[in-house]
């Protein structure tokens, strides 16, 4: 038996509804999860390119400090690079773009639980983004504190911190609402028959992420509010001369920002868990363990924030505990890595672009994670804290992890989102450039950091020059890779072949509906009678 959907609409979701005269109004007022997701995706990728250009300029400047920009400009560049990439691209990243487009489809629903709240969180995102951009363009100096807005400098600097902080504050609300929406959607909207353990891995990770967003983001909001009160009313929560404590800021900030790492990386792991079974034609090995480890990471991830501040002044007991708990996070992460590799084992692997990006994720994220263990242990941390080693580490995790999985998801779901196929050849060429460039760019940072090059410095002694040059050359290759990848995708939107409903042979629900999907996703609400990856069962 199936439940009938009374208002099944067959038109693709790109077609005009005719409710508004202007296209932009029609999209901005839309409550369709796919439209909101597509708008998010375009905004995210635009900010990503701005962030990449800023990062590219930073690397270019480090080639020979002083030739491209002055010291103050350099500080502003790395601050904006961080703020844009973290708050506008990678934290909202996967949930708002791929989550919005695919979460309801993957669980067999017509939309999210609260479509209007979904639209509200998109508007809040736009507002936050505009505020952050305003901080660059209005009178005064762009923010120069680094993306962490560390007090007391963020309270004292004459730069436009207040408006940027306000922007991040608003973005936080967008994030909380998305989390709330997704959690409710997953509880309430699963198709008939889709029990918890028939749900694909990507919704599982979005579920874990949703809780982290709801629980952690208010801490950031409060912290930023304190900065705000400090700047406008002189309230000294973080100012020692007024009885406050700057280390308190660090605690509050990382209490949010470490769980935020999992807001970025958990859904990335979800995408990888979707791609690998499809391209190796095998059920996700240890499916339940992969899903549960997402929850495990989300829970343990709350108790490790102190490892960002081992050198800031903390009792030895606290440091030992934080260090130990940080090591614990490696366990669920390791569970995922081993399960992905086991899924590939004896599979009929097809090395298409999405799999290449997914495999790169496993490789790069492993390096990022293992170097994380090095700096998570106390003794090496004292040497490596605040050096390029940290910069290398988090770029491996953020870009090599979350960034690569976004590009992987982009290729994997591109036919479904746009209804077109991209050129496989150019995707692979782009991947090769990106992957090689990435490793040259960021691996040399590990060496620089080990030699003692401090992060955020405008200038450096001559002995670091060689590695800086190598790193910058890597950034050129990486940029070429990104240009090829995105040129290929943009070209394919207009000139690509029409995509079939299921180009990869996927078994999850999004591949059972046309590309691009119709307005309310399913003509009939599906009834689920099996797990998400029934490759072996069907082959039997």
């Amino acid at each position: 038996m199936t439940l009938r959907n009374e208002t099944a609409v067959t038109a693709g979701f790109y077609e005009r509804t005719g409710k508004y005269r202007w296209l932009i109004a029609e999209w901005m007022m839309s409550t369709d999860h796919k439209r909101i997701g597509v708008m998010y995706l375009m905004a995210l990728l635009s900010f990503f390119s701005v962030g990449v250009v800023l990062g590219f300029m930073i690397r270019l400047s480090l080639l020979s400090p002083g030739w491209l920009m002055g010291q103050q400009t350099y500080n502003e560049f790395f601050t904006l690079h961080g703020v844009i990439q973290i708050f506008l691209f990678i934290i909202p990243g996967i949930p708002v773009a791929f989550g919005n487009i695919f979460l309801p489809i993957l669980i067999g629903a017509q939309d999210v639980a609260f479509p209007r709240i979904n639209r509200l969180s998109w508007w809040l995102y736009v507002t936050g983004a505009i505020l952050i951009l305003l901080s660059v363009f209005i009178k005064g100096r762009p923010p120069d504190t680094g993306w962490t807005f560390y007090a007391p400098y963020s309270i004292q600097t004459p730069a436009n911190i207040s408006i940027a902080v306000m922007g991040v504050f608003v973005l936080g609300f967008s994030s909380i609402l998305t989390g709330l929406n997704f959690v409710t959607t997953i509880h309430r909207m699963r198709a008939p028959g889709m029990g918890w353990f028939r749900m694909p891995a990507f919704p599982w990770t979005l579920y874990a992420t949703g809780w982290v967003q709801m629980l952690a983001t208010p801490v950031l909001a409060i912290t930023l509010l304190f900065i705000f009160l400090g700047r406008f009313f002189g309230v000294g929560f973080f100012d020692p001369t007024k009885g406050g404590d700057p280390i308190l800021y660090e605690h509050l900030f990382w209490m949010y920002s470490h769980p935020a790492v999992y807001i970025m990386v958990l859904p990335a792991m979800g995408i990888i868990s979707e791609i690998i079974p499809v391209f190796s034609r095998r059920a996700l090995f240890g499916y339940a363990a992969v899903c549960m480890s997402a929850l495990g990471i989300a829970v343990v991830g709350y108790a490790v924030w102190g490892h960002h501040m081992f050198t800031s002044g903390m009792s030895d007991t606290a440091r030992v505990i934080f260090s130990f708990v940080s090591f614990l996070v490696a366990v669920p992460s390791g569970v995922k890595i081993f399960n992905w590799v086991s899924t590939l084992y004896k599979g009929s692997i097809e090395v298409d672009a999405p799999l290449l990006f997914a495999l790169s994720f496993i490789f790069l994220f492993s390096i990022g994670g293992l170097t994380g263990l090095i700096i998570g242990s106390l003794a090496p941390n004292l040497h490596l804290h605040g050096t390029y080693f940290i910069v290398g580490h988090f770029h491996y995790v953020m870009f090599g992890g979350a960034g690569f999985s976004i590009i992987a998801g982009l290729h994997y779901w591109f036919p479904k989102i746009t209804g077109r196929m991209y050129s496989e050849r150019f995707a692979k060429i782009g991947w090769l450039n990106l992957f090689v460039g990435f490793n040259i760019l960021y691996f040399s940072m590990f060496i620089l950091g080990f030699q003692g090059m401090p992060r955020r410095y405008f200038d450096y002694p001559p002995e670091y020059h060689t590695n800086h040059v190598i790193s910058t050359m890597g950034s050129w290759l990486l940029a070429i890779g990104l240009i090829i990848i995105f040129a290929n995708l943009i070209r394919s939107i207009f000139k690509g072949e029409k995509a079939p409903a299921n180009p990869w042979g996927g078994k999850t629900l999004e591949w059972t509906i046309p590309s691009p999907p119709a307005n309310e996703n399913f003509r009939e609400i599906p009834v689920i009678t099996r797990g998400p990856y029934p490759y072996e069962e069907e082959a039997r």
């Binding site: 439940l3 959690v183 409710t184 509880h187 309430r188 909207m189 699963r190 198709a191 008939p192 028959g193 889709m194 029990g195 028939r198 809780w211 709801m214 629980l215 208010p218 009160l229 009313f233 002189g234 309230v235 000294g236 929560f237 020692p240 001369t241 007024k242 009885g243 406050g244 404590d245 308190l248 609400i525 009834v527 689920i528 009678t529």
Partner: protein
């Protein structure tokens, strides 16, 4: 009603600051009785006290007197104000009118019994380096014996700090103590106290001494004068733990627990009501 609530919220946030604000400043008028300076100007310090010099040799205090002395009391493992004060002193000494070692001497004594002569030696090397080339000496270096770094047995430390009225306290991390220079006349008489009052945030030497002040102090000490009455707000060296902080932490804990409880109730609500709201639940168990 809403407006009143808002007013109360904002007022309480703003007033929290003023209540705890200024008690916690590093400068306050006097010590709390336990920690501070009780001026003993004009009295003599016991010159027969025995300390250890940087090489670990026993040395009597009287052997180092005989000329005006700038006495500083610090502990050598300090990571707060002590190194900054000594650093400021190292920048002022080469600019003084008097000849170091001949016209005056600086004695730094650790009041921490745990400090060892080795630490004193490494500190001495450090500050000698900080002084840099000293143009007035023939060999361009600041004379070694013009700045002594002493450590001592418990009794000597006790007697000396008592004699100069220097009151310090052991804390969880190091000590709390006043930051002060003490001028001694050649015969060991306390000629005056020079309080460090200003901390210049963001400077490479946040504590500086004007050569004028030190010249005047040394000249007074050389003549055996007892200068009193320059009572100023002085700096203390201590680990910063504002008294309002634990209250703030309690507040955070309560808010955190409320948030957590809200999340848990939300989860329970979703679970309990899912039967009512979710369609087709009966298919879940079907194979």
């Amino acid at each position: 009603m809403k407006k009143i609530l808002w007013f109360i919220c904002i007022w309480s946030i703003l007033s929290a600051n003023s209540i705890y604000g200024h008690e916690t400043l590093g400068t306050s008028d006097a010590g709390t009785g336990e920690m501070g300076i009780e001026e003993k100007t004009g009295q003599r310090i016991p010159a027969n006290l025995v300390f250890y010099d940087e090489e670990g040799n026993r040395i009597k205090l009287e052997a180092l007197l005989g000329k005006p002395v700038i006495l500083t009391l610090v502990y050598y493992t300090c990571e707060h104000v002590c190194p900054l004060m000594l650093g400021g002193l190292s920048q002022a000494l080469p600019r003084l009118a008097a000849a170091p070692g001949k016209d005056y001497r600086v004695i730094t004594v650790s009041f921490d019994v745990e400090d060892k002569p080795q630490t004193a030696l490494s500190l001495k090397k450090n500050y000698m380096k900080a002084i840099g080339p000293f143009d007035r000496a023939p060999d361009k270096t600041f004379p070694e014996n013009a700045w002594k770094f002493l450590t001592g047995p418990k009794e000597s430390i006790h007697d000396l700090t008592e004699a100069v009225g220097f009151k310090y306290r052991k804390d969880i991390h190091g000590f709390s103590h006043p930051v002060v220079l003490i001028f001694l006349a050649p015969d060991g008489k306390i000629s005056g106290y020079f309080y460090v009052t200003k901390f210049q945030y963001g400077q490479s030497y946040p504590i500086t001494f004007s050569s004028y002040d030190l010249n005047v102090g040394l000249a007074g000490a050389a003549q055996g004068k007892a200068v009193t009455g320059i009572k100023k707000a002085l700096l203390y060296c201590f680990s910063h733990e504002p008294p309002g902080q634990s209250k703030f932490f309690n507040f955070m804990a309560v808010v955190g627990l409320i948030t957590l409880a809200a999340m848990v109730s939300f989860f329970i609500y979703l679970q309990v009501t899912s039967r009512r709201y979710r369609r087709g639940k009966e298919y879940d168990a079907e194979k």
